[in-house]
């Protein structure tokens, strides 16, 4: 986006010396200070900053926890209790890490819903969107492997159920699925060997996420941010510099979100977890009711809605992968749902569907729960495969402002002096 002359002026001798050799401060200034952000961004655009914050929190607390955790079947459970009870501030750091994972997913789901509502996946942001889906998948893999580490009953049985998903390959090539699962386990069942390898990968993947986030931000800064109107920045008055405008807004939203984070850490650290995970893993006894962490419940409901093992697994993975195709499935030429009077309601229905699937995923797989899981699973896929292409063609978009500036200031663009005097800025 460097279409204009950089305002970066190193003042010190060292600054000038460095600028001629490694212009990193110049790049940071260009990308994170004077980077033009649309002037009409709402608070949903602060989730990107939140996510960066939580990635940093998870890595920082994770590195500390790794100093005290022992990744073996015999010691893992006790070492987590040791962290909670004996290590100085271990209770705090462990709670930050466990609750942080939930906050990370809460923020990412808001972030994705925003992208869907304002059409942020549409051209020219397809690659940006797909990298986002890749980050989501990496986050899920990391969270899943991290959840195995305390080696409680839920940890153990979550690993058993999820790794067994791959045994469904047996129904295509007999024996191959079992081989894959034994390869993942390093044995004939989930064991300490499995725990140790998951620990290794759980430490690795966050850094892969950091790399993917770098690409995500690079792609974002190459095409520019979307905004509530879905219009591109056309003139200088459509944008404001990222610092201080967007940065201050991000900082305020972060402060509010961190209040929620802190409330969970200090007052309800186990509310988002499951009590059974404080029972040490027992390979000979399955808990009566296995549920994943809340952020996986919608996918779990889809898995259980389908009575065929292989198709259930395929549907569960397809539910995430299908997001990648949204840029091409949506045929509307309008990005933002603000100007899409019909599709808007279908999108709300989709969001309700995901929440309903989350509720159904937490219930036992019987009776009416299965019935409704099937209805909502059907809508989940219909939304992408039928609603997106058809509504995009049929719908007449409502009247749009001609520019971002007009959406903020009304017709006539910049306020005239007379108008400005009549409506002084509210302070």
């Amino acid at each position: 986006m460097a279409t204009h002359e950089s305002t970066f002026r190193p003042t010190t001798r060292f600054g000038k010396w460095l600028d001629a050799r490694l212009p990193l401060p110049r790049m940071m200034h260009g990308q994170f200070v004077e980077f033009p952000t649309p002037r009409n961004l709402n608070y949903l655009w602060t989730t990107g900053g939140l996510l960066t914050f939580f990635l940093a929190v998870q890595i920082l607390t994770g590195i500390v926890l790794a100093m005290h955790f022992i990744p073996s079947a015999a010691d893992a459970f006790n070492s987590v209790e040791h962290i909670r009870r004996d290590v100085n501030y271990g209770w705090l750091i462990r709670n930050m890490h466990a609750v942080g994972a939930s906050m990370f997913f809460l923020a990412v789901y808001i972030h994705i819903a925003r992208g869907l509502y304002y059409g942020s996946y549409k051209a020219p942001r397809e690659i940006l969107w797909i990298i986002g889906v890749v980050i989501l998948i990496l986050m899920m893999a990391t969270a899943f492997m991290g959840y195995s580490l305390p080696w409680g009953q839920m940890s153990f049985w979550a690993v058993t159920v999820i790794t067994n998903l791959f045994s469904s390959v047996d129904s295509i090539i007999p024996g191959l699925g079992t081989r894959i699962v034994q390869w993942l386990w390093g044995g004939y069942s989930v064991s300490g060997t499995t725990l140790t390898r998951f620990y290794s990968l759980h430490y690795l993947l966050p850094f892969v996420i950091v790399g993917a986030v770098g690409l995500h931000i690079w792609a974002l800064h190459a095409v520019g941010q979307n905004n509530p109107t879905g219009l591109e920045i056309k003139t200088a008055s459509d944008s404001v510099p990222m610092a201080p405008h967007a940065v201050m807004k991000d900082a305020f939203a972060l402060s509010v979100f961190v209040l929620l984070f802190a409330w969970f850490i200090f007052f309800a650290p186990d509310y988002l977890g499951h009590a059974d995970n404080y029972i040490e893993a027992n390979p000979l006894s399955t808990p009566p009711h296995i549920v994943p962490e809340w952020y996986f419940l919608p996918y779990y409901a889809i898995l259980r809605a389908i009575p065929n093992k292989l198709l259930g697994v395929v549907a569960m993975f397809a539910a995430i992968i299908i997001l990648c195709f949204a840029p091409w499935l949506d045929t509307s030429r309008v990005r933002s749902c603000k100007y899409r009077p019909i599709y808007k309601w279908f999108l709300f229905l989709f969001i309700i569907t995901v929440i309903a699937l989350g509720y159904l995923g937490s219930k036992p797989p019987e009776g009416a729960y299965v019935y409704w899981s099937r209805i909502f699973t059907a809508y989940y896929f219909m939304h992408f495969l039928i609603v997106m292409p058809i509504v995009g063609v049929m719908e007449t978009p409502s009247t749009m402002p001609r520019s971002i500036t007009e959406s903020v200031l009304g017709r006539g663009g910049a306020p005239t002096p007379a108008k400005a005097a009549a409506a002084p800025e509210r302070r």
């Binding site: 049985w157 058993t160 159920v161 999820i162 790794t163 067994n164 998903l165 045994s167 469904s168 047996d170 129904s171 007999p174 034994q182 390869w183 993942l184 386990w185 390093g186 044995g187 004939y188 069942s189 064991s191 060997t193 390898r197 390979p283 000979l284 006894s285 399955t286 009566p288 009711h289 296995i290 259980r304 389908i306 009575p307 065929n308 093992k309 292989l310 259930g312 036992p364 797989p365 019987e366 299965v370």
Partner: protein, 197 residues
């Protein structure tokens, strides 16, 4: 151009010796990289110490009729049930057409063997049912071993995770599991002892 022509002696169809060398070098490096990758993949498979724990001996004499025990073989639970005559009768009378999975799933029999009660047990020990106690859906341990457990609609085992029902021969009858519970390789070393594996 003159120099290039000297370096690479062109053949009629436009390909050169240099093309061949480049392709050969790339193929060589590719095969080398693939071979170097193999140990890094293979190290994740079950190791020698895991494979060594191959067999388990079990004394069946304390297991009374109608009771069941769970033993561990290769880290997996194995269900051993001393079935009542009614349970055996129920399992024998099932028509093959009613079964979701027609294969005996007996490690000692070929894949095509039908899932009759006889093919799921040992001759002369028809009351004893020995199964790997892992649901063939996603690996939970089905309920039904203890007398107070829910045993499902077919009186065998019920997997609470995703609702699979197994009958008194451990065959899948209802729910998402695709296969009958697996019969591990085992033999009777005496009338009251078996060796699994």
């Amino acid at each position: 151009m003159q120099r290039e022509a000297n370096l690479a002696s062109h053949t009629g169809d436009g390909s050169s010796r240099r093309d061949f060398i480049v392709i050969a070098a790339q193929a060589f490096a590719g095969v080398g990289a693939a071979i170097a990758l193999w140990p890094f993949i293979q190290q994740m498979n079950p190791d020698a110490s895991t494979q060594a724990l191959a067999s388990t001996e079990v004394d069946l004499s304390p297991v009374k009729e109608g009771q069941a025990i769970t033993v561990v073989w290769r880290g997996k639970p194995v269900f051993i049930r001393n079935r009542t005559p009614e349970e055996v009768k129920a399992a024998v009378e099932v028509k093959m057409a009613e079964l979701a999975d027609p294969s005996a799933r007996n490690d000692m029999l070929p894949e095509k063997a039908p899932a009759t009660d006889g093919n799921r047990t040992k001759p002369k020990h028809g009351n004893w049912l020995v199964l790997v106690g892992i649901c063939t859906h996603l690996g939970c341990i089905p309920k039904g071993q203890s007398l107070t457990d829910a045993k499902g609609e077919y009186g065998g085992w019920f997997c609470p995770c995703h609702g699979s029902h197994y009958d008194t021969a451990g065959r899948i009858r209802k729910g998402p599991a695709p296969r009958n519970l697996e019969v591990p390789p085992y033999e009777f070393t005496s009338d009251t002892r078996i060796k699994i594996g």
